[in-house]
């Protein structure tokens, strides 16, 4: 063994080390920026915003042909001078709700499709090894990727929903600010589903599987939400318990949509605490499991 001190070389020359920051914020920002760059390069960014733009143009076109007035007549609503504004408002509020729910579902599905590959791609051999050699923790690496993906989708949600809000408001002159609740709710729902994409991505390194599981989870969530109806149909106690248990475990995509409808319609006080809290808990646990698995894996 040549491990004795005598074999040490003297440190000479003018190779001076650079001052290096230990700020996690810099690393976090760099990871987010990297994710955005990858989304742009993979055309996911442009695809997401392009489809949103198409939808906005479609709405613009629909309203340009004065569908509002036509729809009012079609629905048989009175249009006399005294009650016209009220009825138009009611119609527009309903329209806002439908549009918001459509955007909620559309936006979430689109976002899942767009983002499913962004987590596994960073785990590719030859890429992850270099990232792990940097002075960053594994949770930070995953968190930066997660935040970058979420940011892309959040910006798209802001763009799409605000544009639709402006178009409807401009056309009808009825401004329902509560429509904008669709932005945080749709983004929150995606943030929850994205943790599943992250977990499956870490476990399987497969974009396709991440996509399948995330979409399946949304459908299962919608199915489980019909518990009042289904539980009455179930004959055994254990199956009813199982349904109820699953209902509380799985994120509440359906209920979050209901919360959004209630907020826009201002009909009922929205029942938001349980759906938001259980979904957030699900997301937190899923993300922690993903981090735990990520920390144990060899690359």
């Amino acid at each position: 063994m040549s491990t004795e001190a005598e074999v040490l070389r003297p440190v000479t020359g003018e190779y001076q080390s650079l001052p290096l920051s230990t700020s996690p914020l810099q690393v976090f920002v760099a990871l987010i920026w990297d994710t955005i760059q990858e989304a742009r390069a993979r055309w996911l960014f442009w695809g997401l915003f392009g489809l949103s733009t198409l939808l906005i143009l479609f709405f613009l076109f629909i309203l340009k042909i004065d569908v509002v007035q036509g729809a009012v007549s079609f629905m048989g609503l009175p249009v006399d001078a005294g009650r016209r504004i009220f009825n138009i408002e009611k119609f527009v509020r309903t329209a806002y709700t439908f549009v918001a729910l459509f955007l909620y579902v559309w936006g979430t599905f689109l976002a899942i499709f767009a983002s499913a590959g962004l987590i596994p791609s960073v785990l590719e051999p030859g890429r992850i090894g270099l990232l792990l050699s940097k002075p960053i923790s594994r949770p930070m690496l995953l968190l930066g990727r997660y935040a970058g993906t979420l940011l892309v989708v959040a910006v798209n949600n802001i763009y799409l929903i605000t544009a639709i809000y402006l178009i409807i408001g401009w056309k009808t002159d009825v401004w329902y600010h509560s429509f904008l609740y669709a932005i945080p709710l749709a983004t929150f729902n995606f943030a929850v589903i994205l943790t599943v994409v992250v977990l499956i991505g870490v476990l399987s390194e497969s974009a396709a599987l991440s996509l399948m599981v995330a979409v399946a989870l949304m459908f299962i969530s919608a199915l489980l939400a019909q518990r009042q109806f289904v539980v009455n149909l179930l004959t055994s106690e254990w199956s009813r318990d199982l349904w109820q248990t699953l209902y509380w475990i799985v994120p509440k995509t359906w209920e979050l949509g209901t919360v959004m409808r209630q907020l826009i319609l201002k009909e009922d006080p929205p029942y938001w605490i349980a759906p938001v809290l259980t979904s957030a808990t699900f997301a937190l646990i899923t993300f922690l499991v993903a981090i735990s698995r990520f920390q144990r894996r060899d690359y």
Partner: protein
């Protein structure tokens, strides 16, 4: 925290276990190694000897089954221990959406460099690796050799105190290899430790001042290059050597083996050779040949790993060609 060693491992071990069958495979078996600060250290081994797993354990990409690794005295599992380390992985896959400059900027930021330092350093390094005109070009348009040079620039970006290079000249043409070697030689005497993981023996022989050879996950040999290569000796082959003489001879010899009916052995000096010849004559043995030798790293490698020369010759010829070109120039 300071240490005399850039890399220090104690009983570092990695055992892979198949989930379904439960079968185990020992990639690295309790490796204890010390790499002095400022040295140029070469890690050699046949394919599957455990070189890359060892490097990955140093950089926390692979979790050791047992033992510990430290970088400059700090536990390699702590992410801060990797701040003074630059790494060029084998079979790297740099994201193709980056431009050359963009890639350096990203990895520089992850290393903790300020924006000002990154901007200045990117210019310096692109020039150093001969890619100054390619900084704004997406790296999907780069050749393999250009990617290797860019990868080296990436590893050097934050002026690390330890460079870990896994097959840095893999896929690079002879001129590119020379370029990379020149860049690394430029770091000589600066105190930077270079840890070179390579299967190219002459690359390690010409560049490194320390070498370790792995065999089936074990450390088969470690030493200062000059000590190993100046290991002169005399190979003697004799027939009809009786048992008593054979016992005496083998106790004197550094290596010995029986080839057909002849005893072939190596002694370390001419004096030893004369003593051995006296013993053989006294025992009535027939001396077949006496050949003075000078060990090359290839000899040592073959002796240690049991590899055949034909298995390593193709890459060696390529490197030898590069070396010849360099000498002529």
């Amino acid at each position: 925290m300071t240490s005399d060693y850039a890399i220090e491992t104690d009983g570092l071990q990695k055992i892979y276990r198949a989930r379904l069958t439960g079968r185990t495979f020992t990639a690295v078996a309790g490796l204890t190694l010390r790499v002095p600060v400022g040295s140029k250290f070469g890690l050699l081994g046949a394919n599957g000897a455990g070189k890359t797993t060892f490097v990955k354990m140093l950089l926390a990409a692979v979790r050791p089954t047992a033992g510990r690794a430290a970088l400059f005295g700090r536990d390699a599992q702590e992410h801060e221990s990797r701040r003074p380390v630059g790494y060029l992985p084998e079979n790297h896959r740099f994201p193709t959406y980056f431009t050359g400059a963009g890639m350096l900027d990203f990895y520089g930021a992850l290393s903790g460099m300020s924006a000002v330092d990154r901007k200045r350093r990117i210019g310096e390094l692109l020039e150093l690796v001969g890619l100054e005109k390619w900084g704004d070009v997406r790296i999907k348009k780069y050749s393999k050799g250009m990617l290797q040079r860019l990868g080296l620039a990436q590893a050097m970006m934050h002026k690390p105190k330890l460079l870990v290079l896994d097959e840095p000249t893999d896929g690079v043409d002879p001129a590119g290899r020379r370029h990379i070697r020149d860049i690394l030689n430029g770091l000589t005497g600066t105190g930077v430790t270079i840890f070179l993981n390579s299967h190219l023996l002459s690359e390690v022989e010409t560049f490194c001042d320390y070498v370790a050879i792995l065999r089936q996950g074990n450390l088969a040999l470690e030493g200062k290059m000059t000590n190993l290569l100046t290991k002169q000796g005399v190979v003697i082959t004799a027939r009809d050597v009786n048992e008593q003489a054979q016992r005496v001879i083998t106790s004197m010899a550094s290596t010995h083996r029986v080839v057909e009916d002849a005893l072939e052995f190596t002694v370390s000096s001419a004096l030893e050779a004369n003593r051995a010849i006296d013993q053989l004559r006294a025992a009535g043995a027939l001396i077949h040949s006496v050949i003075p030798t000078n060990s090359s790293l290839e000899d040592i490698f073959i002796e240690i790993t049991g590899a055949t020369r034909s298995a390593i010759a193709p890459v060696e010829n390529d490197t030898a060609a590069a070396a010849t070109t360099e000498v002529r120039q």
